[in-house]
Structures are given as structure tokens and as C-alpha cells.
């Protein structure tokens, strides 16, 4: 609990935008939170540097109108997240203040609302008996939050073993009510409530083992699941110039991915994108549970016009919530859009502190900050043997679309999946604009991951995927040849090679994110489509001249596209299958010339 009186106090000494220099009268800690009192309004700030009696604090608000000499009160705590039931379906700012309970159209500085509803009653049921030895992260009981079994855990900040002296019976409690009493080996009692606090910049480490991720996470997006799958507990990033479809792609993933909890951190991006989530998610169904999407979602919104310092914090807040739910044995998907804005927030602050700049004026320690953050994701085994995961996908907005810039390069070292969005594909409206050749998933090199892929699809799955990728590569070469030598300067085979790759492109790679059926392709259907496409285009096809190649493949692609728009295995779907069959028959048998 905050006891402000016992802590240090200070006075504002200098102001450079949102960096404020404070002279202090006592001890303070690095990253300590303080409140600068601006005409009765407390502005939250964080200590980022100290030097003698001077503390450099970054203010999480606009400092316009702040005066020299203003009073500052330190809290003795670092930036903390409040963790407890009531987080799901909420919408927060970067510091986890509930946006819904704020008053007025505009965000007023100092309007700090509580993260969870402190007055709401939850039905708690204990799951361990008193007398048990417990440690941080152990499950004491649970409440049902939306559809999720929300575990009430031993506070993460406690060290060592505790004896569960008392646990309260099943019943209705507020989050602040005591539900258990722990006893340490000195006989000191610690009451436990349903909420706890955790400093967001530190990782929550209440698991026994963190193996390499091995299980594929279905996103329903063909080019991801089929070509470069991500795993439960995996990390990935999506760099792309503006207009290449990053946001649409991330939203598709957030809607469809196989996860118990989805946390969306909108970090320095457009407010309207968040509004879209606010508007859509309460309406849309979660394809996995049939309940509403909003029920499994937490949104952290620090849009581009909200204070910059809170943008940095928002990423850590989001990761802390993800770790909290992972400790309950759940699979959490964390999406951050975009990590570049986060890095820019670091740059702005480093600049104001007059630190010597690294490449592109970013701080020197940017690569370590990024890799450290990505390392908090992962698949873990908890103390009780259960498992949980955080899958983290971040977008990167490279300046000028140039991937050789510090944020992209640092992220490339930290993330295991790379989804390159190509401007050329976006320009020709081939969405999602993920380049299948440039993109990769390092998980395809993990033996344990290959094993699960084989059992999910089939034993020759990887061989098939490599075949497809190879055909795409050959198709690209063929396209170059046709462009250089002209349509009649190359063999008919070259045309066929080109159109084979176009078929893969149009049928498997491209997907209509705005079509109700095509937007999400379950793994089973992906397997079916890969097989049927491969089978169709690998048939020996006969053509008299190159001019026959295009019309044939155009027809083929058209039939496949119609299939993609139909309910899997519906009557219409089967009709298209028949059409496909006839079409291929026609060009394999009835064309006599080459036989």
C-alpha cells in the first residue's frame, strides 16, 4: 500500500517537455513513481536518472502549464500493475487506468482510475486445503471471469515457502477481501487478497521450466499456418511499410488465433484502429468458444496522440498482464502494434536526457531492451506441472520501409518468426502481403515442432510445403524470363511454371480478410487445399501454344477462389470440386497433340 508521508519529497527544478528535473530531500529509487502536483492535479511520473540531489523523471502526461517549484511526492514504489479478476474485456491506457470509468470526452491529466473494479463481488472457491506448503504463483482458488477459470495465486512478490494457515470457504468476496492467510517460517502472517501488485518492468518468474515451443498455434491465415507457422509460446514480428496491411493482418490474428486470452497493445498507433476493435469485438464470435471475442480480450490503448512516456510503459503493462494469465495455465496471445513507436518513445526520452545517440539517434541499449522484452514470452511448465504460454507478435514500422534500420535489425535477432510484408504485393492488392519466400519460421527447424506438425497434418507435410515454396521461387524466375525474353521467346513449360506459382499465390497465399468464410481457414481445410492445389498443378498438362496456358490457369484459379469463398465441404464446394475435376480432365486427356 502506498504510504506517501514516509517517502521523499521534492520540488520541480527544470522542465524540458515531459522530462522534469526534480530536487529531492531524501532517498529515492531508480524507476520509482512520483506525483508532481500541478495546481492540485497529481501528474504521474517515473524516475529514470538520478544525479546528486537531482532526479530526472519522465512525466506520463502533458506538462504544459507546469511551473518551477511545483511540489513532488515520491511513492516508494516502482510502476506497478494491479492484477486480479476483472481485467478481461477491459480497455486501459498505457498505465492500466480503466478508460471506461474516466469522465468526459477528453482524457484529463490526473484522472487515474482503478485497474479492476474494487466494489464488484466474485464467487471465490478454494482449491487447496489449509496446512499446505505454498510458494509464489501457486493456485489457492479460482473465480470464473467471463469464461475463464481465473486462478487466485500466492502473490508473486513472496519469496520462499509459506504455510497456508487459513483459507476462506467458497463464497462471494470483493477483490480486496482477504481470502487466505499465509505463515512464513518466522511465524509472520501475510493476508492474501484476490489482487496483487507487480512492477511491470520485471518478468514474473513463477514457473519451473521453459522448454522450446513446439506446438503450432492456428491463426487461420494460410500463408502463416502453412508456410511459416508460429507456435504457442513463440515470438514473431511483422515489419512492413505503411499501407502494406500490417494492421489488418494483426486484427485478423487477434480475432482468429487459437488462444485463451488475447491482449492487444496499441502502442502509439491510430486511435480509430482501436475504436474498430471496441466496436467489433463485442459483436464478433470467438471461433474457438463461440462466445464473444471481447470476453477473451484485453485492450491497452496508448494511441499516437497520448503521452509518449506512457507509450513505453504500455508495452510492459501488457506483458505483465500476459504473464499473469500465463501463470494460470492459459495460452495468451500478445499483440503489439507497433514496437517501433515504443522504440521511438525511448528515443525521444534519450534525446531529452542528452545521451550520446546510437544509430538513427536511437539509444545505444535499444537491442538489449528489445531482446529482453521478447524473452518474456514463451511456453512454460508451472510449479504444479500445468503449462501456459505467451505468444508474442509485434509489428515494426520501419522508417521509409527500409528493413536495415535499428528497430527491425534488433527485432530480427530477438524474434523467431519473420513475416515480411511486401510493398509490391500490397500495390497489386495481393493480400495478405506476406512474402512467402522472404518470411520464415525458425520453428520449422525444431525437431519437436516438426514432430507435432507431422502429427497435425501428415508425415510428408514439410516436404509438400518446401515443394510449394520451390514452385513459387521457380515461378518468380519464370516471370523474369518472360519479361526479358517475351511471351514467345520462352518455352511453354516456362509459362506453365509461372502459372503454377500464380495458382499457389491466388489460392493459398491470398486470402480475403473481409470475407466471412475466406478470412479464416482452419488447419484441416488448409491441409485439404494444399493437397488439392499441389495435385492439380502437378498433373502433366498439355498445351498447343503458350496462349492456351493463361486461359486454362485463369479458369483453374477462378474455380479454386470460388471454393475458398464457400463453406468447407458444402454442396457448392463439392460442385466446384467437380468443375475442377472436369477442367483438369479436359486438359490432360482430351488434348491429343502432345500425347
Amino acid at each position: 500500500m502506498m504510504v506517501i508521508n514516509q517517502n521523499s519529497k521534492g520540488k520541480v527544478h527544470g522542465i524540458i517537455s515531459n522530462l522534469v528535473i526534480v530536487s529531492v530531500d531524501g532517498p529515492i529509487i531508480q524507476n520509482e513513481i512520483c506525483y508532481i502536483i500541478k495546481e492540485d492535479i497529481p501528474l504521474m511520473a517515473e524516475v529514470i536518472k538520478t544525479s546528486g540531489q537531482m532526479a530526472y523523471v519522465q512525466v506520463f502526461e502533458n506538462t504544459t502549464g507546469l511551473k518551477i517549484g511545483a511540489h513532488v511526492e515520491f511513492t516508494g514504489n516502482m510502476l506497478e500493475a494491479t492484477l486480479g479478476p476483472g481485467l478481461l474485456s477491459s480497455q486501459y491506457d498505457g498505465l492500466l487506468h480503466d478508460l471506461k470509468s474516466m469522465k468526459g470526452t477528453f482524457l484529463q491529466p490526473g484522472d487515474y482510475t482503478s485497474t479492476v473494479d474494487l466494489e464488484r463481488f466474485w464467487n471465490f472457491s478454494p482449491t487447496v486445503d489449509k496446512g499446505t506448503l505454498v510458494r509464489a504463483g501457486d493456485w489457492l482458488g479460482s473465480v470464473i471471469e467471463n469464461n475463464v477459470n481465473h486462478r487466485i495465486m500466492v502473490p508473486f512478490t513472496l519469496e520462499g515457502d509459506y504455510l497456508l494457515e487459513n483459507i476462506f470457504p467458497e463464497g462471494s468476496y470483493k477483490v480486496t477481501d482477504t481470502i487466505a492467510i499465509l505463515l512464513d517460517n518466522h511465524g509472520k502472517q501475510t493476508p492474501v487478497t484476490m489482487i496483487q501488485k507487480w512492477p511491470v518492468k520485471k518478468a514474473i518468474h513463477v514457473y519451473t521450466d521453459k522448454p522450446r515451443p513446439f506446438k503450432i498455434m492456428e491463426t487461420g491465415i494460410r500463408v502463416i499456418d502453412t508456410f511459416s507457422p508460429i507456435t504457442l509460446g513463440g515470438t514473431g514480428f511483422i515489419p512492413g511499410p505503411f499501407g502494406s496491411g500490417k494492421t489488418v493482418l494483426q486484427q485478423s490474428i487477434s480475432k482468429q488465433a487459437e488462444a485463451d486470452i488475447v491482449i492487444v497493445a496499441a502502442c502509439g498507433e491510430r486511435a480509430n484502429e482501436i475504436v474498430e476493435i471496441f466496436a467489433e469485438f463485442p459483436q464478433l464470435d470467438d471461433p474457438w468458444t463461440g462466445r464473444k471475442l471481447i470476453e477473451r480480450t484485453i485492450i491497452i490503448a496508448n494511441t499516437s496522440n497520448m503521452p509518449v512516456a506512457a507509450r513505453e510503459a504500455s508495452m510492459y503493462s501488457a506483458m505483465t498482464l500476459a504473464e499473469y494469465y500465463r501463470s494460470m495455465g492459459l495460452n495468451v496471445l500478445l499483440l503489439a502494434d507497433s514496437t517501433s513507436r515504443w522504440a521511438q518513445a525511448l528515443r525521444e526520452m534519450s534525446n531529452r536526457m542528452e545521451e550520446l545517440p546510437g544509430p538513427d539517434a536511437f539509444p545505444m541499449d535499444l537491442p538489449t531492451i528489445i531482446s529482453n522484452f521478447y524473452s518474456r514470452a514463451g511456453f512454460v511448465y508451472l510449479n504444479n506441472g500445468q503449462n501456459g504460454s505467451i505468444t508474442f507478435i509485434g509489428t515494426v514500422s520501419p522508417a521509409g520501409g527500409n528493413l536495415r534500420e535499428p528497430v527491425t535489425e534488433s527485432t530480427k535477432k530477438a524474434a523467431r518468426c519473420f513475416y515480411a510484408l511486401s510493398q509490391a504485393r500490397a500495390d497489386s492488392k495481393r493480400y495478405p502481403a506476406i512474402d512467402p519466400i522472404e518470411s520464415y519460421s525458425k520453428y520449422l527447424e525444431y525437431d519437436e515442432c516438426i514432430a507435432t506438425l507431422n502429427s497435425t497434418f501428415s508425415d510428408d507435410w514439410l516436404i509438400k510445403i518446401n515443394l510449394l515454396k520451390n514452385m513459387l521461387r521457380k515461378g518468380k524466375d519464370a516471370a523474369d524470363q518472360i519479361n526479358i525474353l517475351g511471351d514467345d521467346g520462352v518455352s511453354i513449360d516456362t509459362h506453365v511454371t509461372f502459372w503454377q506459382s500464380e495458382t499457389i499465390d491466388f489460392v493459398i497465399l491470398q486470402q480475403d480478410a473481409f470475407d466471412d468464410i475466406d478470412c479464416r481457414t482452419p488447419l484441416e481445410r488448409q491441409k485439404f487445399m494444399v493437397n488439392i492445389v499441389l495435385e492439380s498443378i502437378s498433373k502433366s498438362l498439355f498445351f498447343d501454344s503458350f496462349e492456351e496456358v493463361r486461359p486454362f490457369f485463369k479458369k483453374l484459379i477462378n474455380v479454386f477462389q470460388q471454393m475458398n469463398y464457400r463453406e468447407f465441404m458444402s454442396d457448392e464446394f463439392s460442385n466446384h470440386m467437380q468443375e475442377l475435376h472436369d477442367l483438369i480432365q479436359h486438359n490432360t486427356i482430351h488434348n491429343p497433340v502432345n500425347l
Partner: protein
């Protein structure tokens, strides 16, 4: 100082009249106020029709959107913007002119006067005769007035900002004087946040008012990787490119590089259901024509399909992409179907059969 008196008036960066009229009456408010709580915004989903098919069909605009024209200095962006502003059904048009040439200032003044739209115009202008630092105040002045009309009067406000490149240049001058370490292209490291603070004022409010921002970012030599257009592109909801089409001798809206991110909130919902697919198919076929043209330039023979796409491309550019088009979206879609039937077979479209069944004419 905001109030109803602002309508029909022209001011400088400090809000002082430059049209010879009296000082306006109203209440004083601080500029660059706090941002809107995202939860109090509404999803922009009201079509902003301009009659220009290159915009309405391919890059549909929505009230509450923010979108710039990326244009070279010699392109007629101010004219197109004025045209769009007059056709769009806005209650107020607020012009923020930064580093405006005096001639352009007079152009806007005249065109609004001639259109009899003066009563809904508010103009804040900093011309090239004024000190560049004063430009920094223009967007704040324009937007605080916009907020007054949008929030207190529930009006649909269209804000025109030209030219944001000159605004960013002024930012870099200030940051330079403050000994800040410059990042890319000698721009301040905070350029993204600075621009976002302005553009994010665009919003659809719950009570019906809205602020739509249409801006101009001039490019140097068409380079969109420069910090200013680059950061702008990441903030705004799309961008519009103008292009001179030599085949038809007209300025068109470039269908490849232009984008409206919010179009999916309205197309196929507020417009006819086939809109998204028709849009994509027509652009894809136009791209085929561009490829055919490259072939032709390289001296290769064209296939029969190539020739059809070329013919299609001339008609598509002339009847739908040119900026002098003024028709409603249903008519645009009908024209597109007419062109499809004229030049292509049904398989070459790749459109859902539910739509081809309805609209394919042959």
C-alpha cells in the same frame, strides 16, 4: 477565441483577422488541448462522397478520417482539395494554410467565394510573407476551432491543412535551435508524435459531430521514404496520390499507391455489396495493363489478352480514374461492370459468383 463568429472569416496564425473585419466575439480556449478518450470515439463509418470515382470507388473516404495528398509541388493538389472540400457535404470547412503562397491563398479565397460557400469557411493562413515559426500555430488554431464546431455544435467539420511539409520544416528549425539531436533527414526525433498530435484530432464523436482532416504533404521528387511523408503515412488513414496519365491527357488518382484505410468501414456496407470485389478486380486488371505496357515498351509482341487490358485501361482511366469525374458510387460500379463485360470473360475477373450472377451483362 472560438465562437460562431469565426464562420466566413480569415485569420493569421495568432487568430487576428486579416480580412479587414472586426475581432470575433467568443470564448477563449487553450490550443493543443488533451486528446479524446479513445473509448468516447465512434467508429467512423459515414461515407464522405466526392463524386470522384478515383476516390469514392477505389479510396472511399469516411467522416472522421485523416488523409493527406502526397503530391509533387507541380501537381494541382490545392485545386483537387478545394474541389473535394466543396463537394463533400461538410457543415464547416476550416482551412489551415502554412507557408501558403499569396496566390494560392487568393485562389482558395476566390473559389470559396464563387461557390457561395463563404459562410461555412474559416481560414487560418500563414503565407510565405509571414515568419515560418508562426506556421507551428496554424494547425492548433484550425483544430481548436474545428473541435468547437464538432463538439459543441455537433457539426461535420472538414479541416484542410496545406502544406504539412512546411510545418515539419518549421519544427526542425525550432528543434535545431534547442540543440536537439536530429534523427533521420534532420528532422526532430519526436516528428512522429508531433504530427500524430495534429492528425489524431480527426475523430467521429458520439453525438454526431466529426472532424475530418485532409492535408497536403509535398514530396521532393516523389520520394515517400523521406521522414515527413514516411511518418505521415504511418499516422494517417491512407494517402492519395495524383498522377498525370499520358494516355488520356488528364490527372488521375493513382489507383496503386493511393489507399484509404477506412474504406472497409463503408464499402459494401453503405455502398452496393459488390463494391469491394469490383474495386479489387478493376485495379488488378489495370495492373495487367501496366504490365502489358511494359512489354510493349520493351518491344515484345502483345497477346490478345494484353491488348484487351490495354483498351480497358484507357477507358477505365478516362471514365473512372480521372479527377474530372462526378458521379455517384452506384453509377461507378455500373460503369466498371460495363467495362468488365466489354473486355473480359467472367473467369478473368475472379469475382464471387454471387455478384457475377447479379451484375454480369453479356
Amino acid at each position: 477565441m472560438v465562437g460562431n463568429d469565426l464562420a466566413g472569416r480569415f485569420f493569421n496564425a495568432f487568430g487576428l483577422p486579416i480580412d479587414g473585419g472586426p475581432k470575433p466575439e467568443g470564448k477563449e480556449v487553450a490550443v493543443a488541448g488533451p486528446s479524446v478518450n479513445p473509448i468516447r470515439r465512434k467508429l467512423p463509418s459515414e461515407l464522405l462522397a466526392t463524386g470522384i470515382a478515383g476516390i469514392d470507388m477505389n479510396n472511399t473516404l469516411v467522416t472522421g478520417q485523416k488523409i493527406p495528398f502526397f503530391a509533387d509541388a507541380n501537381q494541382p493538389f490545392n485545386q483537387v482539395m478545394a474541389l473535394v472540400a466543396l463537394r463533400a457535404k461538410a457543415d464547416k470547412i476550416i482551412l489551415g494554410g502554412m507557408g501558403l503562397l499569396n496566390d494560392d491563398y487568393l485562389f482558395f479565397k476566390n473559389i470559396f467565394e464563387n461557390a457561395g460557400a463563404l459562410h461555412k469557411i474559416v481560414c487560418f493562413a500563414n503565407t510565405t510573407e509571414d515568419p515560418p515559426i508562426e506556421r507551428l500555430l496554424i494547425p492548433d488554431m484550425a483544430l481548436i476551432s474545428a473541435e468547437y464546431f464538432a463538439i459543441e455544435k455537433n457539426e461535420k467539420v472538414l479541416v484542410l491543412l496545406t502544406d504539412m511539409t512546411l510545418y515539419a520544416d518549421a519544427l526542425s528549425i525550432v528543434s535545431n535551435r534547442m540543440d536537439q539531436i536530429p534523427s533521420k533527414d534532420s528532422m526532430p526525433g519526436s516528428l512522429y508524435s508531433d504530427l500524430a498530435r495534429i492528425y489524431e484530432k480527426a475523430a467521429q464523436f458520439e453525438e454526431g459531430g466529426s472532424i475530418t482532416i485532409m492535408a497536403v504533404t509535398t514530396l521532393s521528387g516523389g520520394d515517400i521514404t523521406h521522414s515527413i511523408p514516411d511518418n505521415t503515412g504511418y499516422i494517417t488513414e491512407g494517402q492519395l496520390f495524383l498522377k498525370y496519365n499520358t494516355d488520356i491527357g488528364k490527372v488521375i488518382i493513382d489507383p496503386f499507391r493511393s489507399l484509404s484505410r477506412l474504406k472497409n468501414n463503408v464499402i459494401g456496407k453503405k455502398t452496393r455489396k459488390d463494391h469491394p470485389q469490383v474495386m479489387n478486380a478493376s485495379i488488378r486488371l489495370y495492373l495487367d495493363a501496366v504490365n502489358a505496357k511494359t512489354k510493349l515498351d520493351n518491344g515484345f509482341e502483345l497477346t490478345e489478352y494484353d491488348q484487351r487490358t490495354l483498351k480497358y485501361s484507357y477507358e477505365y482511366a478516362d471514365r473512372l480514374l480521372a479527377i474530372d469525374v462526378n458521379i455517384d458510387t452506384t453509377r461507378m460500379l455500373d460503369i466498371a461492370w460495363e467495362l468488365f463485360s466489354k473486355y473480359f470473360s467472367i473467369e478473368e475477373l475472379g469475382i464471387k459468383s454471387t455478384f457475377t450472377d447479379l451484375y454480369w451483362k453479356k
